[in-house]
């Protein structure tokens, strides 16, 4: 297959020293194997991630994503925009659709962008990395690169909210998406098709402001994975990953549970299966170590 190029929106959490930096590390390893080139949108900004609404009105929030699209149109005119973060993808795609649907909003957005000499057409596809994998490469191609099948690992596919609703991955259902299970099996691991919390919300940004309410949701997500016999949870979203992984100590302290469930990204599974080292797969970024993946990576 020829090299595929995309206009890439990495997002705040992907940056060095940020909460999803190991996601980015594993995406880079995965893309190298798959001959995918991610061209970073120059000088991209934050998307406001569904929680900017107290300080930012509708137009200022849309203008943030519109600025990213405008910069992408200038720098990579022929490439789809691709995001790895669920919130980045959602905000950008939502902005694109709303600008396309509403002439007045498009006019006002461009009036705002003109303050920095920019103009947006919003005519590019805005896609999640998972869509690129499934639609542009396909499971068969993804499976061809597996050097070390993830045998003997049972993985609960936690899809979460924002990669699933309101857009979702084309052809998948909102209530019972199966693409993570298919990806997991393509990498040689066992999936958990009846994982009932696969689209349960983790609390999102409210993990910070309403920690107990959010942690109650996370508790259910982890319990269901244990109930299904899972060794680890896999997710496509940096907020899901963080919320489900990092509060397990606090949940244990409050509820007397003994959770120690690794939570990894799909790209980490793929990087390990494709033969990357633990470090290249960003496994050193996991607080709860995914020991079985480390062992396979170390073989």
């Amino acid at each position: 297959m020829a090299k595929k190029e995309y206009s890439f929106y990495p997002g705040c959490s992907s940056q060095k020293g940020a909460s999803g930096s190991n996601y980015q590390v594993s995406v880079d390893a995965m893309c190298e194997t798959l001959d995918i080139q991610l061209n970073h949108i120059p000088d991209w900004n934050c998307c406001a991630a569904s929680i900017g609404y107290a300080g930012g009105g509708e137009l200022p929030r849309l203008a943030l994503s519109a600025r990213n699209m405008a910069l992408s149109e200038q720098a990579h005119p022929d490439q789809d925009i691709v995001a790895t973060c669920a919130a980045c993808w959602l905000a950008t795609r939502e902005t694109k659709e709303r600008l396309n649907d509403d002439e007045e909003l498009m006019k006002e957005t461009n009036e705002a962008l003109a303050a920095a000499g920019l103009e947006v057409k919003a005519n590019k596809k805005v896609r999640h990395m998972v869509e690129v994998l499934i639609e542009d490469l396909g499971y068969e191609e993804l499976g061809k690169h597996v050097k070390k099948p993830l045998e003997g690992i049972k993985i609960a596919g936690y899809v979460g909210c924002q990669t699933n609703r309101p857009f979702g991955i084309h052809g998948e259902s909102f209530e019972n998406p199966v693409y993570l299970d298919k990806l997991t099996e393509t990498m040689g691991a066992e999936s958990l098709p009846n994982y009932e919390k696969k689209v349960q919300c983790c609390g999102g940004a409210l993990a910070f402001s309403e920690p107990e309410k959010s942690q109650d949701l996370v508790k259910g997500i982890i319990e269901a994975a244990y109930d299904g016999g899972a060794d680890m949870i896999v997710t496509p979203c940096p907020v899901c990953q963080m919320n489900v992984e990092v509060y397990q100590d606090q949940i244990n302290a409050r509820h007397g549970t003994k959770f120690k469930m690794p939570v990894v990204y799909y790209s980490q599974l793929m990087a390990v299966a494709y033969g990357s080292s633990a470090k290249e797969a960003g496994l050193d970024g996991n607080i709860i170590k995914a020991k079985q993946l480390e062992d396979i990576a170390g073989k």
């Binding site: 930096s21 929680i51 920095a116 609390g203």
Partner: protein, 207 residues
């Protein structure tokens, strides 16, 4: 305006009209058919003072203060479950965000609501340099209920912070600068202009 349209307009209460004019996606409110699927689908449903279905009815009943002063819409986690399931396809998530924005603009949002405070800090944080500074956001969050409370919260969060630090997912140096866009002045000019355009469009209300 025809006499008939005028007559209809006079029947409609002014708060619904205010929401339609001034709240993001507010013109959808009248379309709610009160089935309650949104309220039943919300992950934090039990914690809403008035779940979305009730908010829509309160708006139509003209209960301006009950709606705008409510902590309800600040419970939205932006999971989009309500949008995915609403039989009439109301953009409920956006209406909740829009009501929160509007209540905040009018100074009616509950001052100590934690998600309101966090959302304000998030916006300040991201607009300062164009990208989120996770460390400063975290620290400001700990101290949002005052200094003494902040020290307690920060101590409680220490093990988590250390875990993030040890796995290189939190960088203490972010406190002194950190990530940002190069064209901060351009970004700020865009946001300022966008806000100007939006505020100029807000319709004055009698209330």
């Amino acid at each position: 305006m025809s006499a008939n349209v005028q007559a209809i307009e006079s029947y409609r209460n002014s708060f619904l009209k205010e929401v339609e004019a001034n709240v993001e996606e507010g013109d959808w409110v009248k379309m709610c058919m009160q089935c309650g699927v949104c309220s039943g689908s919300c992950p934090l449903g039990p914690y809403w003072e008035h779940p979305p279905q009730e908010i829509f009815m309160l708006i139509r009943a003209g209960k301006r203060e009950e709606v705008l002063k409510s902590s309800s819409m600040w419970m939205c986690t932006s999971c989009y479950n309500c949008i995915a399931r609403c039989p009439r396809e109301l953009p409920i998530t956006h209406i909740m965000h829009g009501l929160a924005t509007y209540a905040e603009r009018l100074g009616m949002a509950p001052k100590n609501q934690p998600t309101r405070k966090f959302a304000l800090k998030f916006w300040d944080n991201l607009t300062k340099k164009g990208r989120v500074n996770e460390l400063k956001l975290g620290v400001s969050l700990y101290f949002m209920n005052g200094f003494v409370e902040g020290i307690k919260t920060a101590l409680k969060a220490m093990p988590l912070g250390m875990n993030m630090y040890k796995t290189k997912r939190l960088n203490p140096m972010e406190y002194f600068g950190g990530h940002g866009v190069k064209d901060t002045s351009g970004l700020k000019a865009i946001l300022k202009k966008a806000e100007e355009i939006e505020l100029a469009k807000l319709k004055k209300t009698d209330a």
